[in-house]
């Protein structure tokens, strides 16, 4: 008999329909917009498929609730989490335990015959083959072999990483591994992630069994949700923000129109108007104040460390080029090269992208970014043009690969230009870790993390703020 517990969120009146509503609510919390009518569709669809087939149920729900590839991805994550919690909840309620299994696994782990090297090999093999069932079994074995030694740290993420390290699972090739070993070529990243997920799941299950209660439900981490999986997957939403960016930037500068602070008399038109009053200039005519087009300099990192973000950034650059005539763009890796001409020549984003990767001629010897060199070259190229109304935008991760950041040069550029922005494609959490030196630059500019379109919108707001 299970010990008395407090009510948890899965035990609620209303039965199945209520559960479905809660699932929809969780989906909405993760940004999948599913309306009531869609929920009714889902109920209708479930009436048509066999209950006993979990795949059919999942597909039926997905077809009615998730209406884009992006939504579908989130749906999978939320649905998995929901099912997992629901079944754990039920197991707790019924007092089901996996005692025998666990003991068997522990016995195998302690047994000398099933030693660690064998286990490592078996896991690497299963990961390479992508064998889901084997991976699940082996995850349990791995936990009992490596995980319980120190009784676990209590933090699941830490345990997962520890087990993974002790298993020696890495995605990069390990050439010293013997011929034919799956680890020699490096394990497929996707499968490795999947295995980690299984480890996490099994650890969670263990902890639920020990503590006899469900941990509070957590939202999907931003990393699960936000990072574009494929290079073109999220391009549609980028375009949406970029359109908004264009609109904002186009209207910018207009608010000065009509303000007569620095109004200058237009002598010719005043004389002409004075003819009506017998040559006496009663009516003064002013030169219209023209909105000043801001001048923009964009520097975009296209090195390998920001590959996934550079498509995103290039599309932003492309949009900027549509709106500004006075704009110069540069791409850089180790050295800098100007691509203004490419953007002006090509109107199509795809063509631009290709032209840049083909013949922008980024001088790239080592393939590593050298920010110090970039600043000095940039200064050389635009020194005479920089003035307080110019805006400099840097798109890059500020990873110097251990080279001198030369923040003094950057400070000099920032001081000459009116405004300086930095868009970093890494989550703020990673800033200043490893070879990231964003803090050296951050004091001279406004730095934004920018790896989702929402964050791009934040930047648009900052950029569109009136210049003083």
């Amino acid at each position: 008999m299970a010990p008395p517990r407090q009510r948890t969120d899965l035990e609620r009146p209303g039965g199945f329909a209520a559960n479905l509503v809660f699932l929809a609510e969780e989906l909405r919390a993760e940004g999948v917009s599913s309306g009531t009518s869609e929920l009714m569709d889902a109920v209708a669809a479930l009436g048509e498929v066999a209950w006993t087939d979990p795949e059919d149920v999942r597909e039926a729900l997905a077809a009615t609730l998730a209406k884009s590839p992006e939504d579908r991805r989130r749906f999978e994550l939320v649905f998995d989490r929901f099912l997992f919690r629901a079944s754990e909840e039920a197991a707790l309620r019924e007092g089901v335990k996996e005692g025998e299994d666990d003991q068997a696994a522990t016995a195998a782990g302690e047994d000398g015959a099933f030693d660690e090297a064998d286990l490592r090999d078996a896991i690497a093999q299963a990961i390479r083959d992508g064998d889901e069932g084997a991976m699940r079994d082996l995850a349990r074995l791995a936990i009992s072999a490596f995980g319980r030694r120190g009784q676990g740290s209590g933090v699941i993420g830490v345990d997962v990483q520890r087990i993974r390290r002790s298993l020696g699972l890495r995605s990069d090739p390990q050439p010293d591994a013997p011929q034919g070993d799956p680890r020699r070529e490096g394990l497929p990243r996707e499968q490795l992630r999947r295995f980690e997920q299984l480890l996490r799941r099994e650890l969670e299950r263990g902890s639920i069994e020990r503590t006899q209660q469900l941990p509070p439900s957590r939202p999907l981490s931003d990393l699960d949700r936000g990072l574009p999986g494929g290079p073109l997957q999220d391009l549609a939403s980028v375009h949406k923000v970029v359109v908004q960016l264009k609109r904002r930037l186009k209207t910018q500068g207009q608010e000065n129109r009509g303000r007569k602070r620095h109004a200058q008399i237009d002598v010719r038109r005043t004389m002409r108007a004075s003819l009506q009053t017998g040559g006496v200039p009663v009516d003064l005519r002013y030169k219209p104040t023209r909105p000043r087009r801001p001048e923009i300099y964009v520097l975009c990192d296209v090195s390998t460390s920001v590959t996934s973000a550079s498509v995103f950034f290039l599309s932003v650059m492309h949009a900027l080029h549509d709106s500004f005539r006075k704009m110069r763009s540069f791409v850089f890796i180790e050295r800098i090269s100007e691509v203004t001409e490419v953007f002006e020549r090509e109107r199509d984003f795809k063509a631009v992208n290709e032209a840049i990767s083909r013949d922008a001629g980024v001088a790239d010897i080592s393939g590593y970014t050298d920010y110090g060199r970039v600043w000095s070259e940039f200064r050389e190229k635009v020194e005479d043009e920089l003035h307080p109304r110019a805006t400099v935008i840097v798109l890059g991760d500020a990873r110097t690969n251990g080279r001198d950041p030369r923040a003094d040069l950057f400070a000099d550029v920032a001081a000459k230009a009116g405004r300086t922005f930095w868009l970093n494609p890494e989550p703020r959490l990673y800033w200043n870790y490893g070879d990231s030196v964003i803090s050296a630059y951050e004091q001279y500019c406004e730095a934004f993390e920018c790896w989702t379109t929402e964050q791009l919108e934040e930047f648009v707001k900052a950029l569109a703020r009136p210049v003083r």
Binding site: S37, E38, D41, E48, E55, D56, A63, K67, R72, E354
Partner: protein, 296 residues
């Protein structure tokens, strides 16, 4: 042919008989569409068989396929209905002097003078049909808004005549290449199906189904190569239809193996851009076995 499939498996087998190999989710969503009478929005890259699915469904259910090909600037007159105003003019002229306006009015706005376009045709057909609205993402948002009435209630309002209700329930498929985000309102009314390039095994089956004479090993090799080509960043990755074409081309020239020579000669069947050709020749061609004919 069944009028309505009894189960998902039924429908899958039926589609197979209609020369269409449906994946798990495809069959399920198609089944739900027949049962629930909801339109299906099919999205995915070009050439994965979105349009083909509609054709196969119409073959399987022995229903007529009504197709509306969308393009920019498509309007109601081309999609829904139009008054045949030349005929109306003739009618008015033929009318004897002195006939009252009312009787003429009643006359010329009758069904006789109505030119039905695909959407109205699908709705008013006495036999149930399969309605395919192809490449909905090519139209403007205004057109999408117009579709909403049809998709949710299966009816069309014609101001001069009143509302035309569906005489039979059509199965509606909308396809989109995702070139534009569709409106939420439209998506909400549809079931959603994302079709992607099939797995290696499934594609092999498809190729074997359409080119059964092709040697199994070559077919496998071909599907692997097509997979490799799709991995590359091309302007236009090869579609399923193109792999089938390629299989037939190989049959025609009687290739015994897929080596570098054969690949160079026939690769234009699957790759259609000059820059793509260069990339493919460079990246995939070299990975194939050197020409056996050249060596011997």
């Amino acid at each position: 042919m069944a009028d309505s499939p009894a189960s998902v498996e039924d429908l899958r087998a039926g589609l197979r008989d209609a020369d269409y190999l449906a994946g798990e989710s495809t069959a399920l969503v198609a089944y739900l569409a027949t049962r629930l009478g909801k339109p299906v929005l099919v999205e995915g890259p070009a050439g994965v068989g979105k349009t083909e699915l509609a054709k196969a469904l119409s073959r399987y259910l022995s229903r007529k396929l009504v197709r509306l090909q969308c393009y920019e600037g498509l309007d109601e007159a081309k999609a829904l209905y139009e008054w045949n105003y030349r005929k109306q003019l003739l009618r008015i002229q033929a009318e004897a002097e002195g006939t009252g306006w009312n009787s003429v009015h009643d006359d010329i706005f009758g069904e006789e003078f109505l030119l039905t376009r695909p959407l109205l045709e699908a709705i008013s057909s006495p036999e149930p049909v399969v309605l395919l609205i192809d490449e909905i993402d090519k139209t403007d948002q205004e057109f999408e808004a117009m579709l909403l009435e049809i998709l949710s209630d299966f009816q069309v309002s014609i101001p001069e005549m009143g509302t035309v209700r569906a005489a039979s329930m059509p199965i509606v498929l909308l396809t989109s290449n995702n070139s534009r985000e569709l409106t939420e309102a439209l998506k909400r009314r549809c079931l959603y199906l994302w079709l992607d390039y099939p797995e290696l095994k499934a594609e092999l089956e498809i190729v074997r189904l359409h080119a059964p004479e092709l040697d199994e090993t070559i077919a496998r090799r071909l599907v692997e190569v097509v997979g490799m080509v799709r991995e590359l960043d091309l302007k236009k990755p090869p579609s399923i239809a193109e792999s089938i074409d390629w299989a037939r081309a190989l049959l025609l020239i009687g290739a015994e193996d897929l080596d570098q020579q054969v690949f160079r000669d026939t690769m234009s069947v699957i790759v259609k851009h000059r820059t793509d050709l260069d990339i493919v020749a460079e990246r995939v061609g070299v990975r194939l076995a050197a020409s056996s004919r050249g060596a011997s």
